[in-house]
Protein backbone atom coordinates (compact mmCIF):
# COMPACT_ATOMS: atom_id res chain seq x y z
CA UNK A 1 0.00 0.00 0.00
CA UNK A 2 1.41 3.39 -1.02
CA UNK A 3 0.20 6.73 0.21
CA UNK A 4 0.82 9.83 -1.86
CA UNK A 5 -0.03 13.18 -0.30
CA UNK A 6 -0.47 16.18 -2.54
CA UNK A 7 0.18 19.49 -0.87
CA UNK A 8 1.04 23.06 -1.70
CA UNK A 9 2.54 25.81 0.36
CA UNK A 10 -0.74 27.57 -0.16
CA UNK A 11 -4.13 26.94 -1.70
CA UNK A 12 -4.95 27.87 -5.26
CA UNK A 13 -1.89 26.34 -6.89
CA UNK A 14 -4.03 23.76 -8.62
CA UNK A 15 -3.37 21.07 -6.04
CA UNK A 16 -6.93 19.75 -6.07
CA UNK A 17 -7.13 19.76 -9.87
CA UNK A 18 -3.97 17.67 -9.99
CA UNK A 19 -5.16 15.32 -7.24
CA UNK A 20 -8.54 14.79 -8.92
CA UNK A 21 -6.86 13.97 -12.22
CA UNK A 22 -4.56 11.48 -10.53
CA UNK A 23 -7.59 9.73 -9.07
CA UNK A 24 -8.85 9.16 -12.58
CA UNK A 25 -5.46 7.95 -13.81
CA UNK A 26 -4.53 5.70 -10.94
CA UNK A 27 -7.04 2.96 -11.50
CA UNK A 28 -8.16 1.58 -8.16
CA UNK A 29 -7.59 4.14 -5.40
CA UNK A 30 -8.87 5.33 -2.09
CA UNK A 31 -9.15 9.10 -1.99
CA UNK A 32 -8.83 11.20 1.14
CA UNK A 33 -9.62 14.90 1.08
CA UNK A 34 -7.64 16.25 4.00
CA UNK A 35 -8.23 19.86 3.15
CA UNK A 36 -10.91 19.77 5.83
CA UNK A 37 -10.97 23.50 6.23
CA UNK A 38 -12.24 24.08 2.71
CA UNK A 39 -12.67 20.76 0.99
CA UNK A 40 -13.07 20.91 -2.79
CA UNK A 41 -12.47 17.39 -4.06
CA UNK A 42 -16.15 16.53 -3.78
CA UNK A 43 -16.93 19.13 -6.44
CA UNK A 44 -15.18 17.14 -9.15
CA UNK A 45 -15.55 13.62 -7.76
CA UNK A 46 -19.33 13.26 -7.85
CA UNK A 47 -19.36 11.44 -4.50
CA UNK A 48 -22.40 9.56 -3.25
CA UNK A 49 -22.24 9.66 0.51
CA UNK A 50 -22.71 6.39 2.32
CA UNK A 51 -21.82 7.31 5.90
CA UNK A 52 -21.84 10.56 7.85
CA UNK A 53 -20.29 10.91 11.30
CA UNK A 54 -20.24 13.90 13.64
CA UNK A 55 -16.88 15.17 14.75
CA UNK A 56 -15.92 16.93 17.93
CA UNK A 57 -12.56 18.64 17.82
CA UNK A 58 -12.34 19.39 21.48
CA UNK A 59 -14.15 20.79 24.46
CA UNK A 60 -15.46 24.19 25.32
CA UNK A 61 -16.59 25.62 28.62
CA UNK A 62 -20.22 26.22 29.50
CA UNK A 63 -21.35 28.19 32.55
CA UNK A 64 -24.65 27.34 34.21
CA UNK A 65 -26.01 30.74 35.23
CA UNK A 66 -28.19 29.22 37.99
CA UNK A 67 -25.19 27.73 39.74
CA UNK A 68 -22.72 30.57 39.15
CA UNK A 69 -22.05 32.51 42.36
CA UNK A 70 -20.57 35.45 40.52
CA UNK A 71 -17.18 35.37 42.21
CA UNK A 72 -15.24 36.20 39.06
CA UNK A 73 -12.53 33.64 39.64
CA UNK A 74 -12.88 32.28 36.08
CA UNK A 75 -12.43 35.76 34.66
CA UNK A 76 -9.18 36.17 36.58
CA UNK A 77 -7.81 32.84 35.50
CA UNK A 78 -8.74 32.75 31.83
CA UNK A 79 -5.76 33.66 29.67
CA UNK A 80 -7.73 33.82 26.45
CA UNK A 81 -10.17 36.58 27.39
CA UNK A 82 -12.94 34.09 26.82
CA UNK A 83 -14.97 34.93 29.93
CA UNK A 84 -17.29 37.88 29.67
CA UNK A 85 -18.99 39.65 32.51
CA UNK A 86 -22.06 41.78 32.28
CA UNK A 87 -23.86 43.08 35.37
CA UNK A 88 -22.37 40.34 37.50
CA UNK A 89 -23.35 37.52 35.21
CA UNK A 90 -20.60 35.51 33.61
CA UNK A 91 -20.55 33.79 30.23
CA UNK A 92 -18.15 32.12 27.81
CA UNK A 93 -17.16 33.61 24.50
CA UNK A 94 -17.25 30.40 22.48
CA UNK A 95 -14.97 31.73 19.80
CA UNK A 96 -12.20 32.74 22.17
CA UNK A 97 -12.42 29.65 24.39
CA UNK A 98 -9.46 27.32 23.87
CA UNK A 99 -10.98 24.53 25.89
CA UNK A 100 -8.21 24.46 28.47
CA UNK A 101 -10.65 23.72 31.26
CA UNK A 102 -8.92 25.92 33.80
CA UNK A 103 -12.12 27.81 34.63
CA UNK A 104 -14.05 24.58 35.14
CA UNK A 105 -11.34 23.13 37.36
CA UNK A 106 -11.10 26.14 39.65
CA UNK A 107 -14.71 27.33 39.75
CA UNK A 108 -15.56 27.17 43.47
CA UNK A 109 -19.27 26.79 42.72
CA UNK A 110 -18.70 24.02 40.15
CA UNK A 111 -20.77 26.06 37.73
CA UNK A 112 -18.66 25.32 34.66
CA UNK A 113 -18.80 22.20 32.58
CA UNK A 114 -16.57 21.23 29.66
CA UNK A 115 -18.77 20.10 26.79
CA UNK A 116 -18.01 18.56 23.40
CA UNK A 117 -17.49 21.18 20.77
CA UNK A 118 -19.18 19.46 17.84
CA UNK A 119 -18.05 21.42 14.86
CA UNK A 120 -17.62 19.06 11.99
CA UNK A 121 -18.66 15.99 10.10
CA UNK A 122 -16.82 13.40 8.09
CA UNK A 123 -18.08 11.23 5.30
CA UNK A 124 -17.37 8.01 3.48
CA UNK A 125 -18.55 8.23 -0.10
CA UNK A 126 -18.42 6.31 -3.35
CA UNK A 127 -16.96 7.94 -6.42
CA UNK A 128 -16.41 6.61 -9.93
CA UNK A 129 -12.72 6.20 -9.02
CA UNK A 130 -13.10 4.48 -5.70
CA UNK A 131 -14.12 5.25 -2.14
CA UNK A 132 -13.47 8.71 -0.80
CA UNK A 133 -13.18 9.93 2.77
CA UNK A 134 -13.80 13.63 3.26
CA UNK A 135 -14.91 16.06 5.93
CA UNK A 136 -16.31 19.44 6.73
CA UNK A 137 -15.20 21.55 9.63
CA UNK A 138 -17.53 24.16 11.05
CA UNK A 139 -16.71 27.84 11.44
CA UNK A 140 -13.68 28.58 13.55
CA UNK A 141 -13.16 24.88 13.88
CA UNK A 142 -10.43 23.94 16.25
CA UNK A 143 -8.30 20.87 15.96
CA UNK A 144 -8.42 20.36 12.25
CA UNK A 145 -5.24 18.32 12.71
CA UNK A 146 -7.24 15.76 14.61
CA UNK A 147 -9.86 15.60 11.86
CA UNK A 148 -7.18 15.23 9.20
CA UNK A 149 -5.67 12.31 11.07
CA UNK A 150 -9.09 10.73 11.37
CA UNK A 151 -9.79 11.09 7.63
CA UNK A 152 -6.42 9.58 6.73
CA UNK A 153 -6.81 6.67 9.08
CA UNK A 154 -10.24 5.88 7.70
CA UNK A 155 -8.84 5.95 4.17
CA UNK A 156 -6.07 3.57 5.18
CA UNK A 157 -8.50 1.18 6.78
CA UNK A 158 -10.66 1.13 3.67
CA UNK A 159 -7.59 0.59 1.48
CA UNK A 160 -6.49 -2.28 3.65
CA UNK A 161 -9.92 -3.88 3.63
CA UNK A 162 -10.34 -3.54 -0.13
CA UNK A 163 -6.71 -4.42 -0.78
CA UNK A 164 -6.27 -1.20 -2.72
CA UNK A 165 -2.68 -0.37 -3.57
CA UNK A 166 -2.85 3.39 -3.73
CA UNK A 167 -4.13 6.07 -1.39
CA UNK A 168 -4.30 9.58 -2.77
CA UNK A 169 -4.48 12.31 -0.20
CA UNK A 170 -5.39 15.87 -1.07
CA UNK A 171 -3.43 17.45 1.76
CA UNK A 172 -4.05 20.59 3.74
CA UNK A 173 -2.53 23.85 2.68
CA UNK A 174 -0.16 25.80 4.88
CA UNK A 175 2.45 24.63 7.30
CA UNK A 176 0.50 24.40 10.56
CA UNK A 177 -0.98 21.51 12.48
CA UNK A 178 -3.27 20.22 9.69
CA UNK A 179 -0.53 19.86 7.11
CA UNK A 180 1.72 18.14 9.59
CA UNK A 181 -1.14 15.74 10.24
CA UNK A 182 -1.56 15.23 6.48
CA UNK A 183 2.00 14.17 5.78
CA UNK A 184 3.34 12.29 8.78
CA UNK A 185 4.05 8.73 7.74
CA UNK A 186 3.21 9.19 4.05
CA UNK A 187 5.33 7.41 1.45
CA UNK A 188 5.71 10.48 -0.67
CA UNK A 189 4.66 14.07 -0.78
CA UNK A 190 4.00 15.89 -4.02
CA UNK A 191 4.31 19.64 -3.61
CA UNK A 192 2.41 21.58 -6.25
CA UNK A 193 3.90 25.01 -6.71
CA UNK A 194 3.63 27.97 -9.05
CA UNK A 195 6.41 29.99 -10.62
CA UNK A 196 6.07 33.15 -8.58
CA UNK A 197 7.95 34.83 -5.78
CA UNK A 198 5.42 33.67 -3.25
CA UNK A 199 5.26 30.22 -4.82
CA UNK A 200 8.98 29.71 -4.30
CA UNK A 201 8.81 31.15 -0.81
CA UNK A 202 5.99 28.78 0.18
CA UNK A 203 7.74 25.86 -1.50
CA UNK A 204 10.85 26.41 0.60
CA UNK A 205 8.88 26.42 3.81
CA UNK A 206 6.81 23.41 2.98
CA UNK A 207 9.80 21.37 1.79
CA UNK A 208 11.55 21.88 5.08
CA UNK A 209 8.48 20.50 6.81
CA UNK A 210 8.26 17.49 4.51
CA UNK A 211 11.92 16.86 5.24
CA UNK A 212 11.40 17.22 8.94
CA UNK A 213 8.86 14.42 8.79
CA UNK A 214 11.08 12.22 6.70
CA UNK A 215 8.87 12.11 3.60
CA UNK A 216 10.15 11.71 0.05
CA UNK A 217 9.47 15.05 -1.64
CA UNK A 218 8.50 15.44 -5.29
CA UNK A 219 7.68 18.78 -6.88
CA UNK A 220 5.22 19.75 -9.62
CA UNK A 221 5.40 23.19 -11.19
CA UNK A 222 1.95 24.28 -12.27
CA UNK A 223 1.42 27.08 -14.82
CA UNK A 224 5.17 26.97 -15.37
CA UNK A 225 5.02 29.06 -18.54
CA UNK A 226 3.63 32.11 -16.73
CA UNK A 227 7.13 33.03 -15.63
CA UNK A 228 9.98 31.02 -17.11
CA UNK A 229 12.67 32.79 -15.09
CA UNK A 230 10.93 31.88 -11.89
CA UNK A 231 10.45 28.31 -13.15
CA UNK A 232 14.22 28.17 -13.67
CA UNK A 233 14.75 29.40 -10.17
CA UNK A 234 12.46 26.71 -8.79
CA UNK A 235 14.25 24.08 -10.86
CA UNK A 236 17.51 25.32 -9.36
CA UNK A 237 16.07 24.98 -5.89
CA UNK A 238 14.88 21.44 -6.65
CA UNK A 239 18.38 20.54 -7.82
CA UNK A 240 20.18 22.15 -4.90
CA UNK A 241 17.91 20.47 -2.41
CA UNK A 242 18.07 17.15 -4.25
CA UNK A 243 14.30 16.97 -4.59
CA UNK A 244 12.62 15.14 -7.44
CA UNK A 245 10.81 16.97 -10.22
CA UNK A 246 7.55 15.18 -10.98
CA UNK A 247 6.65 17.37 -13.91
CA UNK A 248 5.61 20.72 -15.29
CA UNK A 249 2.11 21.77 -16.27
CA UNK A 250 1.31 24.48 -18.82
CA UNK A 251 -1.05 27.31 -18.02
CA UNK A 252 -4.29 26.16 -19.57
CA UNK A 253 -7.78 27.60 -19.35
CA UNK A 254 -9.12 24.05 -19.54
CA UNK A 255 -8.18 23.63 -15.89
CA UNK A 256 -10.78 26.25 -14.95
CA UNK A 257 -13.30 25.01 -17.50
CA UNK A 258 -12.99 21.47 -16.16
CA UNK A 259 -13.81 22.76 -12.70
CA UNK A 260 -16.87 24.55 -14.01
CA UNK A 261 -17.93 21.33 -15.71
CA UNK A 262 -17.43 19.49 -12.42
CA UNK A 263 -14.84 17.17 -13.88
CA UNK A 264 -11.18 16.41 -13.42
CA UNK A 265 -8.86 17.97 -15.98
CA UNK A 266 -7.86 14.68 -17.64
CA UNK A 267 -11.45 13.61 -17.90
CA UNK A 268 -12.57 16.92 -19.35
CA UNK A 269 -9.84 17.77 -21.78
CA UNK A 270 -7.16 16.45 -24.12
CA UNK A 271 -5.31 19.73 -24.01
CA UNK A 272 -1.86 20.75 -22.86
CA UNK A 273 -2.49 20.66 -19.12
CA UNK A 274 -4.22 17.30 -19.33
CA UNK A 275 -1.35 15.69 -21.18
CA UNK A 276 1.18 17.28 -18.80
CA UNK A 277 -0.69 15.82 -15.85
CA UNK A 278 -0.85 12.39 -17.50
CA UNK A 279 2.87 12.45 -18.04
CA UNK A 280 3.43 13.55 -14.47
CA UNK A 281 1.35 10.67 -13.17
CA UNK A 282 3.42 8.21 -15.19
CA UNK A 283 6.57 9.64 -13.60
CA UNK A 284 5.12 9.38 -10.13
CA UNK A 285 3.79 5.87 -10.60
CA UNK A 286 7.23 4.87 -11.78
CA UNK A 287 9.00 6.61 -8.94
CA UNK A 288 6.74 5.03 -6.33
CA UNK A 289 6.56 1.70 -8.09
CA UNK A 290 2.80 1.83 -8.12
CA UNK A 291 0.99 -0.82 -10.03
CA UNK A 292 -0.94 0.69 -12.93
Amino acid sequence: MKELVIISGKGGTGKTSVAASFAGLAGRVVIADCDVDAANMHLVMAPVTRETTRFSGGKIALISPEICAGCGKCLDLCRYDAITEENGSYAIDKIACEGCGVCAYFCPAKAIEMVDDENGEWYISDTPYGPMVHARLGAGGENSGKLVTLVRNQARQIAKKNKTETILVDGSPGIGCPVIASITGADAVLVVTEPSMSGLHDLKRVVSIGRHFGARVLVAINKYDINLDMTDEILGFIKDEELELAGRVHYDIDVTLAQIAGKSVVEFSDGQAASDIREMWTNIALALELEE
Binding site: K10, G11, I95, G174, S196, G199, I226, T256, L257
Partner: protein, 292 residues
Protein backbone atom coordinates in the same frame (compact mmCIF):
# COMPACT_ATOMS: atom_id res chain seq x y z
CA UNK B 1 -10.99 51.58 9.61
CA UNK B 2 -10.02 47.96 9.87
CA UNK B 3 -10.61 45.91 6.73
CA UNK B 4 -9.88 42.20 6.98
CA UNK B 5 -9.20 40.65 3.60
CA UNK B 6 -10.09 36.98 3.76
CA UNK B 7 -11.00 34.06 1.55
CA UNK B 8 -12.09 30.55 2.26
CA UNK B 9 -8.81 29.45 0.86
CA UNK B 10 -5.42 30.65 -0.22
CA UNK B 11 -4.47 31.39 -3.80
CA UNK B 12 -7.56 33.41 -4.63
CA UNK B 13 -5.65 36.66 -4.74
CA UNK B 14 -6.28 37.71 -1.16
CA UNK B 15 -2.75 38.96 -0.65
CA UNK B 16 -2.79 40.71 -4.02
CA UNK B 17 -5.94 42.61 -3.05
CA UNK B 18 -4.72 43.41 0.47
CA UNK B 19 -1.26 44.60 -0.60
CA UNK B 20 -2.59 46.70 -3.43
CA UNK B 21 -5.35 48.24 -1.33
CA UNK B 22 -2.83 49.40 1.25
CA UNK B 23 -0.33 50.47 -1.41
CA UNK B 24 -2.89 52.44 -3.38
CA UNK B 25 -4.23 54.19 -0.29
CA UNK B 26 -0.63 55.04 0.62
CA UNK B 27 0.07 56.30 -2.89
CA UNK B 28 -2.89 58.64 -2.61
CA UNK B 29 -1.22 60.09 0.44
CA UNK B 30 -3.59 58.59 2.99
CA UNK B 31 -2.35 56.93 6.14
CA UNK B 32 -2.28 53.20 5.58
CA UNK B 33 -0.93 50.10 7.21
CA UNK B 34 -0.70 46.61 5.82
CA UNK B 35 -0.95 43.90 8.47
CA UNK B 36 -0.18 40.32 7.52
CA UNK B 37 -1.88 37.88 9.88
CA UNK B 38 -1.23 34.91 7.63
CA UNK B 39 1.49 33.98 10.07
CA UNK B 40 2.01 30.48 8.72
CA UNK B 41 2.97 31.79 5.32
CA UNK B 42 3.20 35.56 5.28
CA UNK B 43 3.71 36.74 1.72
CA UNK B 44 2.88 40.44 1.76
CA UNK B 45 6.48 41.40 2.46
CA UNK B 46 7.54 39.85 -0.84
CA UNK B 47 5.60 42.58 -2.61
CA UNK B 48 5.90 45.53 -0.25
CA UNK B 49 9.58 44.84 0.56
CA UNK B 50 9.42 46.72 3.84
CA UNK B 51 12.35 47.95 5.86
CA UNK B 52 11.92 46.17 9.16
CA UNK B 53 12.57 48.47 12.11
CA UNK B 54 11.46 46.41 15.02
CA UNK B 55 11.25 42.71 15.83
CA UNK B 56 9.27 41.38 18.76
CA UNK B 57 9.27 37.82 19.93
CA UNK B 58 5.99 36.06 20.57
CA UNK B 59 6.12 33.84 23.56
CA UNK B 60 3.73 31.68 25.45
CA UNK B 61 4.28 30.72 29.07
CA UNK B 62 5.08 27.05 29.53
CA UNK B 63 5.54 25.24 32.80
CA UNK B 64 8.88 24.42 34.34
CA UNK B 65 8.90 21.71 36.97
CA UNK B 66 11.21 21.71 39.94
CA UNK B 67 11.85 18.07 40.72
CA UNK B 68 12.73 18.62 44.39
CA UNK B 69 9.36 20.22 45.12
CA UNK B 70 7.26 17.77 43.07
CA UNK B 71 5.63 15.05 45.17
CA UNK B 72 4.24 13.22 42.11
CA UNK B 73 0.59 13.87 42.97
CA UNK B 74 -0.29 14.10 39.26
CA UNK B 75 -2.66 17.11 39.57
CA UNK B 76 -0.90 18.90 36.68
CA UNK B 77 -1.45 16.00 34.32
CA UNK B 78 -5.10 15.83 35.33
CA UNK B 79 -5.87 19.46 34.55
CA UNK B 80 -4.04 19.61 31.23
CA UNK B 81 -6.57 19.29 28.38
CA UNK B 82 -3.90 19.20 25.71
CA UNK B 83 -1.88 16.20 26.86
CA UNK B 84 1.11 18.47 27.26
CA UNK B 85 1.96 17.19 30.70
CA UNK B 86 1.74 13.62 31.93
CA UNK B 87 2.88 11.40 34.75
CA UNK B 88 5.08 8.54 33.67
CA UNK B 89 5.65 6.35 36.73
CA UNK B 90 6.35 9.00 39.32
CA UNK B 91 7.95 11.51 37.05
CA UNK B 92 6.29 14.49 35.33
CA UNK B 93 6.87 14.57 31.61
CA UNK B 94 6.36 17.75 29.63
CA UNK B 95 5.68 18.12 25.89
CA UNK B 96 6.17 21.84 25.36
CA UNK B 97 5.02 21.86 21.72
CA UNK B 98 1.55 20.74 22.82
CA UNK B 99 1.27 23.29 25.61
CA UNK B 100 -1.23 26.11 25.08
CA UNK B 101 0.12 28.11 27.99
CA UNK B 102 -3.16 28.15 29.85
CA UNK B 103 -1.51 28.15 33.26
CA UNK B 104 -3.75 25.40 34.59
CA UNK B 105 -0.94 23.17 35.85
CA UNK B 106 0.81 26.14 37.40
CA UNK B 107 -2.30 27.05 39.39
CA UNK B 108 -3.20 23.46 40.21
CA UNK B 109 0.13 22.32 41.60
CA UNK B 110 -0.32 22.04 45.38
CA UNK B 111 3.39 22.13 46.21
CA UNK B 112 4.41 25.09 44.10
CA UNK B 113 6.73 22.94 42.02
CA UNK B 114 5.63 24.56 38.79
CA UNK B 115 6.82 27.92 37.58
CA UNK B 116 6.38 29.33 34.10
CA UNK B 117 8.93 30.39 31.58
CA UNK B 118 8.36 31.87 28.14
CA UNK B 119 8.70 29.70 25.05
CA UNK B 120 9.37 31.33 21.72
CA UNK B 121 6.70 30.49 19.11
CA UNK B 122 7.20 33.20 16.53
CA UNK B 123 7.94 36.83 15.90
CA UNK B 124 6.31 40.04 14.79
CA UNK B 125 8.22 42.36 12.51
CA UNK B 126 7.18 45.90 11.84
CA UNK B 127 8.52 48.70 9.74
CA UNK B 128 7.81 50.77 6.66
CA UNK B 129 7.36 50.04 3.01
CA UNK B 130 8.21 52.74 0.51
CA UNK B 131 6.32 53.04 -2.71
CA UNK B 132 7.49 55.21 -5.54
CA UNK B 133 4.85 57.65 -6.65
CA UNK B 134 5.44 60.18 -9.45
CA UNK B 135 5.54 62.93 -6.82
CA UNK B 136 7.93 61.21 -4.47
CA UNK B 137 8.12 58.26 -2.13
CA UNK B 138 5.10 57.30 -0.10
CA UNK B 139 5.05 55.32 3.07
CA UNK B 140 2.87 52.36 3.93
CA UNK B 141 3.31 51.06 7.44
CA UNK B 142 3.89 47.35 7.71
CA UNK B 143 3.40 44.64 10.33
CA UNK B 144 3.57 40.93 9.92
CA UNK B 145 3.82 37.87 12.11
CA UNK B 146 5.90 34.81 11.38
CA UNK B 147 5.18 31.54 13.10
CA UNK B 148 8.28 29.49 13.80
CA UNK B 149 8.67 26.47 11.57
CA UNK B 150 7.19 23.26 12.95
CA UNK B 151 5.13 25.29 15.36
CA UNK B 152 1.45 24.44 15.34
CA UNK B 153 -0.20 27.36 17.11
CA UNK B 154 -0.70 30.51 15.07
CA UNK B 155 -3.30 32.11 17.31
CA UNK B 156 -0.93 33.55 19.96
CA UNK B 157 1.02 35.34 17.21
CA UNK B 158 -2.17 36.77 15.71
CA UNK B 159 -3.43 37.84 19.10
CA UNK B 160 -0.21 39.77 19.72
CA UNK B 161 -0.34 41.40 16.29
CA UNK B 162 -3.89 42.58 16.90
CA UNK B 163 -2.78 44.32 20.06
CA UNK B 164 -0.07 46.18 18.15
CA UNK B 165 -2.11 47.60 15.27
CA UNK B 166 -2.09 51.41 15.38
CA UNK B 167 -5.00 53.63 14.32
CA UNK B 168 -4.80 54.52 10.66
CA UNK B 169 -7.29 55.63 8.07
CA UNK B 170 -6.67 52.34 6.29
CA UNK B 171 -5.80 49.28 8.28
CA UNK B 172 -5.69 46.46 5.75
CA UNK B 173 -5.39 43.06 7.39
CA UNK B 174 -4.39 40.05 5.32
CA UNK B 175 -6.17 37.15 6.98
CA UNK B 176 -4.99 33.56 7.01
CA UNK B 177 -6.73 31.31 4.49
CA UNK B 178 -9.41 28.89 5.60
CA UNK B 179 -12.12 29.21 8.21
CA UNK B 180 -10.40 27.85 11.28
CA UNK B 181 -9.31 29.43 14.52
CA UNK B 182 -6.64 31.68 13.03
CA UNK B 183 -8.94 33.18 10.40
CA UNK B 184 -11.59 33.79 13.05
CA UNK B 185 -9.07 35.39 15.39
CA UNK B 186 -8.07 37.75 12.59
CA UNK B 187 -11.48 38.76 11.31
CA UNK B 188 -13.27 39.30 14.58
CA UNK B 189 -13.05 42.85 15.73
CA UNK B 190 -12.61 44.19 12.18
CA UNK B 191 -14.96 46.80 10.80
CA UNK B 192 -15.41 45.03 7.52
CA UNK B 193 -14.55 41.70 5.95
CA UNK B 194 -13.67 41.64 2.29
CA UNK B 195 -13.89 38.13 0.88
CA UNK B 196 -11.85 37.48 -2.22
CA UNK B 197 -13.06 34.71 -4.46
CA UNK B 198 -12.80 33.34 -7.95
CA UNK B 199 -15.56 32.72 -10.45
CA UNK B 200 -15.32 28.94 -10.31
CA UNK B 201 -17.12 26.19 -8.40
CA UNK B 202 -14.11 25.86 -6.06
CA UNK B 203 -14.25 29.59 -5.46
CA UNK B 204 -17.96 29.45 -4.70
CA UNK B 205 -17.58 26.54 -2.31
CA UNK B 206 -14.85 28.35 -0.38
CA UNK B 207 -16.83 31.59 -0.41
CA UNK B 208 -19.91 29.93 1.06
CA UNK B 209 -17.85 28.54 3.93
CA UNK B 210 -16.12 31.86 4.55
CA UNK B 211 -19.46 33.74 4.52
CA UNK B 212 -20.89 31.39 7.08
CA UNK B 213 -17.93 31.95 9.37
CA UNK B 214 -17.90 35.73 9.00
CA UNK B 215 -21.65 35.94 9.62
CA UNK B 216 -21.15 34.24 12.96
CA UNK B 217 -18.66 36.96 13.83
CA UNK B 218 -21.13 39.71 13.08
CA UNK B 219 -18.82 41.61 10.76
CA UNK B 220 -20.26 43.26 7.63
CA UNK B 221 -19.10 41.53 4.51
CA UNK B 222 -18.53 42.24 0.82
CA UNK B 223 -17.02 40.26 -2.02
CA UNK B 224 -14.27 40.87 -4.54
CA UNK B 225 -14.23 38.56 -7.52
CA UNK B 226 -10.77 37.87 -8.81
CA UNK B 227 -9.97 36.52 -12.26
CA UNK B 228 -13.49 37.20 -13.38
CA UNK B 229 -14.71 36.39 -16.85
CA UNK B 230 -14.77 32.60 -16.71
CA UNK B 231 -18.40 32.50 -17.75
CA UNK B 232 -19.37 30.81 -14.48
CA UNK B 233 -22.27 32.53 -12.78
CA UNK B 234 -22.54 30.59 -9.52
CA UNK B 235 -20.74 33.20 -7.45
CA UNK B 236 -22.88 36.14 -8.53
CA UNK B 237 -26.03 34.08 -8.04
CA UNK B 238 -24.96 33.15 -4.53
CA UNK B 239 -24.21 36.77 -3.64
CA UNK B 240 -27.55 37.94 -5.02
CA UNK B 241 -29.39 35.26 -3.08
CA UNK B 242 -27.60 36.05 0.19
CA UNK B 243 -27.74 39.81 -0.25
CA UNK B 244 -23.98 40.17 -0.28
CA UNK B 245 -22.58 43.01 -2.27
CA UNK B 246 -19.94 42.42 -4.94
CA UNK B 247 -17.67 45.42 -4.51
CA UNK B 248 -15.28 44.77 -7.34
CA UNK B 249 -14.41 42.36 -10.12
CA UNK B 250 -10.84 41.98 -11.29
CA UNK B 251 -10.67 40.58 -14.80
CA UNK B 252 -8.38 37.63 -15.55
CA UNK B 253 -5.26 39.09 -17.04
CA UNK B 254 -1.92 37.69 -18.09
CA UNK B 255 -0.40 41.13 -17.39
CA UNK B 256 -1.50 41.04 -13.76
CA UNK B 257 -0.32 37.43 -13.35
CA UNK B 258 3.10 38.39 -14.69
CA UNK B 259 3.49 41.45 -12.46
CA UNK B 260 2.41 39.32 -9.50
CA UNK B 261 4.82 36.52 -10.30
CA UNK B 262 7.71 39.01 -10.33
CA UNK B 263 6.70 40.15 -6.86
CA UNK B 264 5.82 43.71 -7.87
CA UNK B 265 3.02 45.95 -6.73
CA UNK B 266 0.36 45.82 -9.40
CA UNK B 267 -1.24 49.24 -8.90
CA UNK B 268 2.13 50.77 -9.74
CA UNK B 269 2.25 49.17 -13.14
CA UNK B 270 -1.24 48.52 -14.35
CA UNK B 271 -3.55 51.51 -14.69
CA UNK B 272 -6.52 49.27 -15.23
CA UNK B 273 -5.86 47.38 -12.00
CA UNK B 274 -5.26 50.65 -10.14
CA UNK B 275 -8.67 51.94 -11.14
CA UNK B 276 -10.34 48.75 -9.90
CA UNK B 277 -8.60 49.22 -6.54
CA UNK B 278 -9.59 52.91 -6.45
CA UNK B 279 -13.20 51.90 -6.96
CA UNK B 280 -12.88 49.39 -4.16
CA UNK B 281 -11.39 51.96 -1.76
CA UNK B 282 -14.22 54.34 -2.54
CA UNK B 283 -16.89 51.73 -1.90
CA UNK B 284 -15.23 50.65 1.33
CA UNK B 285 -15.27 54.25 2.50
CA UNK B 286 -18.95 54.53 1.73
CA UNK B 287 -19.89 51.18 3.26
CA UNK B 288 -18.09 51.78 6.49
CA UNK B 289 -19.19 55.39 6.71
CA UNK B 290 -15.72 56.77 7.06
CA UNK B 291 -15.75 58.93 3.94
CA UNK B 292 -14.51 62.41 4.58
Amino acid sequence: MKIAVASGKGGTGKTTVAVNLAARAGLRGESAIYVDCDVEEPNGHLFLKPEIEEIRRVEIPVPVIEDEKCNSCGECGKICHFNAIAMILDKVLLFPELCHGCGGCFHACPTGAITESPRDVGKIESGKAYIDAPDGRKVVEFIHGVLNLNEAMPVPVIRDIRKMIPEKKWVVIDAPPGNACSMVETVRGSDYALLVTEQTPFGLNDLELACRTVKELDVPVGVVINRSGTGYTGVSEFCAREGIEILAAIPESMEVARIYSRGDIIVNESGQFASVIDGLLKKLEERTGSAR
